[in-house]
């Protein structure tokens, strides 16, 4: 495509600027970057048009050349265009330099491997240092402006790639001593110096003669990327020169400077500061920030170097200069500002914050600075706004709010006033009748009066509530302030109920100190109304927020009176919302009557349904459950329709939810005693559960159905007692128990979970026989032994023994069932197996690796189980 005409470009640029993303997504988006570069060389386009194209590339290089290779190519093309310009004056050279710099820096293409970088950097340095680049490059008249531009380009590159000009420090220093514009050079030197110090400190190295390297260091030869390569790693969130974020981040303390280097550094800084009056005020401020940054925490570099500048700066009205001074204050503290200096700075700041000659945004920023003033010896916690110690009420007098102030100024000054009231309270009992607190009260009253103005702008109401919030927040511990505030707000509501949404918002945000009394006051305010006014919908909205279990009768009678006037759907819904709030608060009797009335009386069927539903819920659900049923739905809180949200809340609350198991069960060590076998279940609690019901089902009907186990409450981390589960075997056999849990969550939902099945082992069913009288044991056993046959069966088997021998085995597994013991050689064991079986064992003549066991039982089916059990004993340990 040939070069586009002027008109086309103008139109294209217009469309692009309106919405770059939309343009780039369109059909022309892809070609824009390419067309722009090629048309810069077109002879058909005028210079102003080309400047406009370059201006676009200065703002949107990311869109034009979205990746590093494209940026590299673009920069190369721009440099080519620059070199090819005919040697007459042209408005394009400056923007071309800026555009090439922007393309490389913004496109991430600035690196040693980049050809364009390799061309741009020496070109910039050559232009900047005034070296002869051949007459062909630019006419003499352009040299000065291009020189300044080249410095700026280098500064930007150094900002994006710290350390890039580290190798040029010596050159920059030498140039600063000569003629030429001082500002760009000073700023670049300060920036490069700061970056070099930070990088070298991190590397644990010194300045390595960088400051004294002569001009020749950068001449000829390739660019020195060494520092930049190290710096690259460190272009990461870094702390500004501010104490709160300071400490080790910058870590300049690690920098070891030789005495020679320290001297050179001091000389450089002094040189920069001495020439600083030649800089514009904003540039002076930048220089001070950079040098403050560079020297903070550096050993052997006393900040007194800054001192000669301070008096001059203190007197100015310039925002940037005073701000830079505060930065120095924060960076060096007492080392630069004595207590007297601090007091003076504070006074200047205080007067600047109210000086009639300065604009409002400046006042507000200075007020912020006052409340965040970097004190030499701060008392309070860091990071919190506070009035500095030296800022007494005398100093603050002119900074206190009045109704005539703009909202922002009023709030900022009100904050200060609140801080003073806190202090005032601490001093206590001065007996002043015009204390800050009285003034605060009058001010708040004035704000309320304005907010009460019927038809007044909402901003006035907002301001009043913001002020009330601020006061409640700052002076939460002072009932002497909160009581009149509460009364005043209640009066405001009486005067203008339409502010109900603001009241609801305020109640939602303030702490309990104001919230509780205000809630009561507002409830009384509403309940005392006749309930038939225009403001009914506001009263109902207010009541829905403040109604609770107290003073029910007043609330209910208000509602009853109001019901007659709730003629449209909106009002009825508002009324029902109050009922709902009362339901949640656990209001009972009177409300049931009201709901029944409403169900009959309301004209709208939707309203009737709701009233009926609430009545049914009230009648059938217990308090806590009701609260949850009516609470906001956790699942979909953002749904616009109250009905849908409500129904979802009900559904969630009234249905049983399937959930992952909140507990883990295991069968613990058993105690063989009692009439039936009892499982001792160990519980591990994973999440809190309430009203837990555990249900067990025996697979294969081996036991009688098991009763459920109930636990009121289980909490993780709290010790739990084992749960006892009595078994009623129908046959003496091991079994699997399926387990389900039914419980309530802390949020009130009812949940159901399947737990892993529990295994009841054969041995879990063992019970001892009643102990025979002393001396009759052997007879007792023999009698049992004999009784097994002929109905039952007899067997012999080999029970392997571990290294511990028979005695240990018996004591561990069979102790409760031993009837006759003759350790270590002979044991007679009788085991009762519910429901009515028995298992008898004779363990005699033990050998090293086992014992022969004679076994009798009256139940055939038990035999294989007993065999498995005995053979498994030694393995069980």
């Amino acid at each position: 495509m040939g070069p586009l005409g002027r008109e086309t470009w103008a139109q294209r640029l217009g469309t692009f600027r309106a919405s770059p993303s939309a343009f780039m997504a369109g059909p022309e988006g892809e070609d824009l970057g390419r067309d722009l570069l090629s048309d810069l060389r077109s002879e058909k386009l005028s210079e102003p048009m080309k400047v406009a194209l370059l201006a676009l590339s200065l703002e949107y290089p990311d869109q034009l050349w979205p990746d590093a290779p494209a940026a590299e190519a673009a920069a190369t093309s721009l440099l080519d265009t620059l070199v090819l310009l005919p040697p007459r004056p042209s408005a394009l050279r400056r923007p071309l330099l800026l555009a090439a710099t922007t393309a490389l820096a913004a496109g991430g293409a600035l690196n040693p491997a980049s050809g364009a970088s390799g061309r741009l950097l020496p070109l910039l340095l050559g232009l900047a240092s005034g070296r002869d680049l051949g007459r062909s490059f630019c006419p003499a008249s352009e040299q000065r402006p291009l020189q300044a531009t080249a410095w700026e380009c280098l500064r930007e590159l150094e900002s994006c790639r710290p350390g890039l000009l580290g190798g040029c420090l010596g050159l920059l220093r030498a140039l600063l001593g000569r003629e030429g514009p001082a500002q760009p050079l000073s700023l670049l030197l300060a920036l490069a110096l700061r970056n070099a110090l930070v990088i070298q400190a991190r590397a644990g190295a010194g300045l390595q003669g960088l400051l004294t390297a002569g001009e020749s260091s950068m001449e000829g030869g390739p660019w020195n990327w060494m520092l930049a390569e190290e710096g690259e790693v460190h272009l990461q969130p870094q702390a500004p020169s501010w104490p709160a974020a300071e400490e080790d981040e910058c870590g300049l303390a690690a920098l070891e400077l030789s005495p020679e280097e320290a001297r050179e550094l001091r000389a450089t800084v002094a040189q920069l500061l001495d020439a600083s009056y030649l800089l514009t005020p904003v540039a002076q401020a930048q220089l001070l920030w950079l040098l403050g940054w560079a020297l903070r925490g550096l050993r052997g570099q006393p900040p007194v170097l800054f001192k000669p500048q301070l008096v001059r700066l203190l007197g100015t009205a310039q925002l940037t200069l005073l701000h830079a001074m505060l930065a120095l204050k924060a960076a060096f503290g007492e080392a630069l500002f004595t207590a007297q200096d601090e007091a003076l700075l504070l006074r200047r700041l205080t007067l600047a914050a109210q000086h009639p000659a300065l604009p409002l945004p400046t006042h507000l920023f200075y007020l912020h600075c006052l409340l965040n003033f970097p004190e030499n010896w701060p008392l309070g916690p860091t990071g919190e706004e506070a009035a500095p110690l030296l800022l007494g009420s005398q100093l603050c007098r002119g900074l206190l709010p009045s109704l005539l102030h703009e909202p922002m100024a009023l709030l900022a000054r009100l904050h200060l006033l609140c801080l003073l009231c806190v202090e005032d309270e601490e001093k206590e009992g001065k007996g002043q009748d015009r204390s800050p607190r009285h003034y605060l009260e009058e001010l708040l009253a004035g704000l309320r009066q304005r907010a009460a103005l019927d038809g007044g702008p909402r901003a006035l109401a907002t301001l009043c509530f913001q002020a009330s919030y601020l006061v409640a927040h700052c002076l939460a511990g002072q009932p002497v302030v909160l009581i009149p505030l509460t009364q005043g707000l209640a009066q405001l509501y009486r005067a203008r109920p339409a502010l109900a949404p603001h009241f609801v918002d305020l109640l939602d945000h303030v702490g309990p100190e104001l919230q509780e009394p205000l809630r009561v006051a507002l409830r009384q305010e509403v309940a005392s109304r006749p309930g038939r006014e225009e403001a009914l919908r506001w009263h109902l909205q207010m009541l829905a927020s403040v109604a609770d279990g107290d003073a029910q009768s007043a609330t209910l009678s208000f509602l009853r009176a109001a019901a007659a006037h709730c003629t449209d759907w909106g009002l009825q819904q508002a009324l029902l919302r109050v009922c709902r709030a009362l339901l949640r608060a656990g209001v009972g009797g009177g409300l049931a009557d009201l709901l029944q009335e409403l169900a009959r009386q309301l004209e709208d069927p939707d309203g009737q349904d709701h009233a009926r539903l609430y009545y049914i819920l009230l009648a059938h659900l217990a308090g806590p459950k009701l609260g949850v049923a009516l609470g906001p739905s956790l699942a979909a809180p953002a749904l616009a329709s109250s009905l849908v949200a409500e129904n979802q809340g009900f559904a969630a609350a009234l249905m049983v939810q399937e959930a992952p198991a909140p507990i883990r069960l295991s069968v613990g060590p058993r105690r063989a005693e009692g009439a039936v076998p009892v499982l001792r279940l160990q519980v591990e609690v994973l999440e809190p559960v309430y009203s837990l019901e555990l249900r067990f089902r025996v697979e294969g009907q081996l036991y009688a159905p098991l009763g459920a186990v109930h636990v009121p409450c289980l909490c993780p981390g709290r010790p739990t007692r084992p749960l006892l589960l009595p078994l009623q075997p129908r046959r003496p056999a091991p079994a699997r128990l399926a387990v389900r849990a039914l419980y309530s969550t802390p949020s009130g939902l009812t949940c159901h979970a399947h737990l892993p099945p529990l295994l009841v082992a054969f041995a879990d069913l063992f019970l001892p026989f009643p102990q025979p009288p002393e001396g009759a044991q052997l007879d007792f056993f023999e009698e049992l032994w004999d009784s097994c046959l002929p109905k039952g069966t007899e067997s012999r088997l080999w029970c392997p023994l571990g290294p511990e021998g028979l005695e240990a085995l018996v004591s561990r597994h069979l102790e409760p069932f031993v009837v006759v013991a003759q350790p270590p050689v002979s044991y007679l064991v009788a085991i009762r197996l519910p429901p009515d079986s028995r298992l008898l064992l004779r363990l005699e003549a033990a050998q090293a690796d086992g014992v022969p066991v004679a076994l009798r039982t009256d139940d055939w089916a038990v035999l294989p189980l007993a065999g498995d059990y005995l053979r498994g004993l030694s393995a069980a340990g």
Binding site: S21, G315, L344, L400, L411, Q466
Partner: protein
């Protein structure tokens, strides 16, 4: 220190969008640094359209105020500085420096060279004050001399080139944009050795120095026992030094007559090279005493080429120039007013003009006025519900004048009649507008012989003085009136 983007938005209430982006400039190299520095808390600068909408909402400049909106009206949504968090695309762009001045919103986003969560205190961000200075600079440039829309548009169209000059990469080089414009226009200016950056060229021609002192006096008068009247003088000294040489030295001294009121709260231009500590410490914060420094106030300086404000000061004169009382009594549909004004004998009785504006807020239009003035004439602006008492150039010999009258109002119509948030109920004021040439209330003057100029040639020195009223209110003494803390300290 750098800015990520700058906007100028004209606020046009009543239009669908509420405003138009007149100018915007983004700085992609700064944006790239922001991405690295802010890390996970980085929020990109949005396109103009979404930004406009979000900013107007945040500044409460969209017309729709009818309903309570929590994101705007919540009591906890408190802004105490002109620095905002602007919600864009579910995230919040912060810090956005923005303010509205004469229908134009000036906005920029300073770079924060650290993570934004938690938000660092504003005081620790160097780009905040730089951003303000940039916006103030743009504002000065646009408002200087600009009267018509076409002039404004010309200036807006120059802005892009100017910022290319003074803020090529988002770091501001000079807040004085007019300077840059001059230097573009005179590209061939040869920079001499050690030329200050704030001086774009050198002056060639007859040396002359002009110094003018303008004092504004404000006052709040209540005529009440328990509330003290307040008044204050705010002065500005403007200079234009046309002197040859790259850095001529000048010393300007402000003097006071023996009974003059000491100057306080002095803020000076950065070109002042040193300041006496007595000047630095004299402040209105302290209780006044006889030992207060009363000059001469010497300002050694190296002047820039353009006209500049050498210093600002305040002063507490012993009495207000005009003492008045104002009483309003409501009688059914009528208001009865009585005004008394007395010029202090020490004040020069020769005004360029002197008027008392008596507005009536939150009422209907004026339907009928009966009045009696001891001096001057009364003009009635019925629809605006405003009376203007034109006092003229001189007070009569007695120095005391009075006005009384009865005003009847029609039915209130919210659309047409002025609303005021202060003048509720009986609260009402009258406001004095006056100007006296060749006079200062403090007595402050520049003695031509005390101006020292260290440059070739003897310059012609001219000095000017004037006193202007500003916020000079006299409140109805029969009703409550807004007070400042200062007026309660009797």
């Amino acid at each position: 220190m750098a800015q990520r983007a700058v906007w100028l938005i004209s606020h046009e209430s009543g239009t669908p969008l509420g405003g138009i982006v007149k100018f915007s400039r983004r700085y992609p190299t700064v944006e790239k640094r922001a991405k690295v520095f802010n890390g996970a808390s980085y929020v990109p600068v949005p396109e103009d359209g979404p930004f406009l909408k979000a900013l107007l909402f945040e500044l409460r400049l969209l017309d729709d105020e009818k309903d309570f909106l929590e994101s705007r009206d919540s009591c906890s949504h408190i802004n105490k500085t002109s620095i905002y968090g602007v919600p864009v695309g579910g995230e919040e762009l912060w810090p956005v420096v923005a303010f509205l001045k004469n229908g134009m919103i000036y906005a920029c986003v300073p770079l924060v060279e650290q993570t934004l969560s938690p938000r660092p205190p504003l005081i620790s961000i160097s780009g905040i004050s730089q951003g303000f200075e940039l916006l103030f600079g743009v504002q000065d440039f646009l408002s200087s001399g600009q009267k018509t829309d076409s002039e404004l548009n010309t200036k807006l169209s120059q802005l892009s080139d100017l910022l290319l000059q003074t803020c090529p990469f988002g770091t501001l080089l000079d807040a004085n944009l007019q300077n840059s414009l001059d230097s573009i226009n005179s590209a061939s200016v040869t920079h001499l050795q050690k030329q200050p950056a704030w001086k774009t060229g050198t002056y060639k021609g007859k040396p002359q120095v002009s110094i003018s002192i303008t004092e504004k006096v404000n006052s709040m008068q209540y005529d009440k026992q328990e509330i003290a009247d307040t008044w204050q003088v705010v002065g500005v000294v403007t200079c234009k030094c046309d002197l040859e040489g790259s850095m001529p030295n000048v010393t300007i001294s402000l003097s006071l007559p023996t009974n003059g009121s000491p100057l306080q709260d002095i803020l000076v231009h950065p070109c002042v090279t040193s300041l006496d500590s007595a000047i630095l410490t004299s402040s209105s914060i302290d209780a006044m005493d006889d030992s207060a420094f009363s000059g001469p106030y010497k300002f050694p300086l190296t002047p820039p080429l353009e006209s500049f404000n050498l210093c600002y000061y305040t002063s507490q004169v012993p009495v207000p120039p005009i003492l008045g009382f104002y009483q309003v009594k409501e009688e059914e549909v009528q208001l009865k007013i009585t005004v008394n004004l007395k010029l202090h004998e020490s004040v020069k009785n020769s005004f360029e003009f002197c008027e008392a504006h008596i507005p009536f807020y939150n009422r209907g239009p004026i339907t009928h006025v009966e009045y009696k003035a001891s001096f001057g004439q009364l003009e009635v602006f019925r629809e605006k519900s405003l009376l203007v008492w034109i006092i003229g150039q001189k007070f009569p010999k007695s120095m005391e004048i009075s006005l009384s009258g009865t005003i009847t109002f029609g039915a209130k119509n919210h659309e047409k009649q002025p609303f005021d948030q202060i003048c509720i109920g009986g609260t009402a004021y009258l406001k004095l507008h006056f100007r006296i040439l060749d006079y200062t209330l403090t007595g402050c003057y520049v003695d031509q012989h005390s101006v020292q100029v260290f440059a070739s040639g003897k310059p012609k020195i001219s000095t000017y003085r004037k006193l202007i009223s500003s916020d000079y209110y006299i409140w109805n003494s029969k009703a409550p009136a807004p007070v400042t803390y200062g007026s309660l300290l009797l």
